[in-house]
Amino acid sequence: MLFEDSFRRPEGSRRLLEDIHKLTEKTGPVRLMEICGTHTMAIAKAGLRTALAPDVRLLSGPGCPVCVTPSGEIDGILKLCDQPGVILTSYGDLLRVPGSVRGDTLLRRRAMGAEVKTVYSPMEAVELAASHPEAQVIFLGVGFETTAPGTAACILEASERGLDNFSVLCLLKRTEPALRTLIAAPDFAVDGFLCPGHVAAVTGADAFGFLPREYGLPAVVSGFEAGDILYSVWRLVSLLAEGRPALENEYTRLVAPEGNPAALAVIDQVFEPRASLWRGLGEIPGSGYALRPEYRRWDAAEKFGFTPGSASEVPGCRCGSVIRGVCEPADCPLFGKVCTPADPVGPCMVSSEGACAAAWKYRAR
């Protein structure tokens, strides 16, 4: 049996489900938010949302990097393709996301002749720049604290090798300021947080300590197998039943309290916090990463005059509310009707980690 399989087995899970049911008789139904898109997908795939209803309602948060990128920024990215001699490199997810014009995507631009390449690691983009000195290679840096260290490492690599034809369009985002904004919103109604194990592997579990400390909300850092998630939900419900908001780390096989010091150091060396625009949440101070002045030579935004469009979101599309956990995918009038993965309207239906894509792909019977 694979190691990870032990977290997928249903044995023991039944007991947890029963116990969660008993605990919620005391607390009443609880609303928990998973912040991470990978959790959203794992929850949908395992059928946990249905298994936990109606005792526990799981809401998806702003944890899909593609989904929180506003369509104006996608328009700006699409414009970058038109620059002569540019090779745009990106993680696969972003290729299908439409800008403000439905159907206008990097995938379509590529079919029309733009140089767009999918990479699994940003280091592939650096190598591409080294082997194509005649071209300008831009890496689309999206993601949270998880992809920030790798992106930073690439900039250091390009700096060391003197690769002036490599640059990063830095759209990276930080988790904590977004969560604070979410909690401060008048329609916020969440009793506890399932915290993202991958982000915590970098930042450390302690980075989520502000949730119980400042807001009285229990938080559990969780892994991504069904067993991890179910156990974490059980812990959250237990903490709520005890009336004891605390931070716990379920994902100890990967996450240390203090995180990954090397990754944090490289982020700090290359980036500094700056304001960033989020779909559904608006502009949040300190919620993005900018390249520090000494690394601006590798900033694609400066180099190519990146100008995000001011496009408003598509009428009817409720991605912005889905991202905040205020509305569930099925509440959107477009869901499954005009908006499907084959012909998506909003990013939540495109991204492999989007709440709408998860709800559609793994729709329960």
Binding site: L2, R9, P10, G47, A51, A226, Y362, R363
Partner: protein, 332 residues
């Protein structure tokens, strides 16, 4: 100096003849092909003909467990077999990029010839084109196949509630192996494609009786193929997640890339829907053959959710839709 394919080899002139006589005929040679006419005149099939075609653009052209030559023969042979036919003859057309190494072409031709021989089919006609550098990626192949129908009445119309859904072995190996060969997975391993001809397995299943429909789950994988069995109809296929065989290496590779093995391509696996009274006989027949050792029942046909494929997993059931978009480009 390395021998390469040039535009001259596709000119229809002297070099084309040389290519045919020195590379293709020695590998494929048979009475019908040796005539080198514009088409092959075949002997009477002795039954209703089954006809299929497929094109192959896989990159890289060589992958663990096979190459584009083997794949081009297996792909069409398997399509004829899944339609209930016994494959007899193939056409094989090459589209080559100038500069392609002749040594690699010989290897691909040899591999196609060997696979055809193993399947008992003859390559009786073909074509060779060469295009300018950059216009194809090394080599593309089209094959078409003719066989004789051995089983009447196969098809989705024959599927009944209560029928068993079987698979001949673990799923998703080809898709994962091609990813690995492309260097898309940042680790090393010995993941082999499941690329193999299905003529023996399909013959055995049909002989055991009770077969309603056969398909090889290529692009789109098991999930997409099973959807095609029931979509827009009154029946449902219910799968048991625990019963579906997935090689641990494939599961891990798919996990790393966020892919689902149920949507990853197979090139040597067979899905069969069979009368429940014949399930044991069909499984026993498959188990006795190479490539069928891992055959197992993975689900059954019901009427619970008309037109849909449902996966019964640890915490409940969910719908398995068809693949949306390309999970992976150019795997076959």
């Amino acid at each position: 100096m390395k021998e390469i394919v040039t535009l001259d080899h596709g000119s229809g002139g002297l070099r084309t003849s040389e290519l045919i006589e020195q590379v293709l005929l020695p590998a494929y040679g048979n009475a019908a092909l040796n005539e080198l006419g514009d088409g092959a005149v075949l002997s009477d099939l002795g039954g209703r003909p089954v006809f299929s075609t497929d094109s192959f653009v896989v990159t890289p052209w060589r992958f663990p467990g096979g190459d584009i030559g083997k794949l081009a023969v297996c792909g069409t042979v398997n399509d004829v077999c899944m339609a209930g036919g016994e494959p007899k003859y193939l056409s094989l057309a090459l589209i080559l990029e100038e500069g392609f190494a002749m040594e690699n072409l010989r290897a691909i031709v040899a591999s196609a010839a060997e696979t055809a021989k193993a399947c008992g089919v003859q390559i009786v006609t073909g074509d060779t084109k060469v295009v300018e550098r950059g216009h194809v990626d090394g080599i593309y192949i089209n094959t078409a196949g003719i066989g004789v129908l051995r089983a009447e009445g196969l098809g989705r119309g024959a599927v009944q509630p209560g029928d068993a859904v079987l698979v001949s072995g673990s799923v998703g190996c080809h898709g994962a192996a091609v990813m690995m060969a492309r260097g898309d997975i940042p680790c090393e391993g010995t993941l082999l494609s499941d690329c193999r001809p299905l003529h023996e397995l399909s013959r055995a299943a049909l002989s055991a009786g009770g077969v309603r429909i056969l398909r090889d789950p290529t692009r789109g994988g098991v999930a997409t193929t099973l959807n095609e069995f029931v979509e827009h109809g009154p029946l449902c296929i219910e799968l048991e997640e625990e019963a579906i065989p997935v090689d641990p290496a494939v599961a891990t590779a798919c996990d790393l890339l966020g892919l689902d093995p149920l949507y990853a391509a197979c090139e040597g696996r067979m899905l069969a829907v069979v009368d429940p009274a014949h399930t044991d006989a069909v499984l026993a027949a498959l188990h006795a053959l190479p490539g069928g050792e891992g055959a197992v029942q993975i689900g059954r046909v019901t009427t619970s959710r008309p037109g849909q494929v449902v996966l019964n997993a640890a915490f409940g059931s969910r719908i398995l839709g068809k693949l949306t978009g390309a999970q992976l480009p150019r795997i076959c």
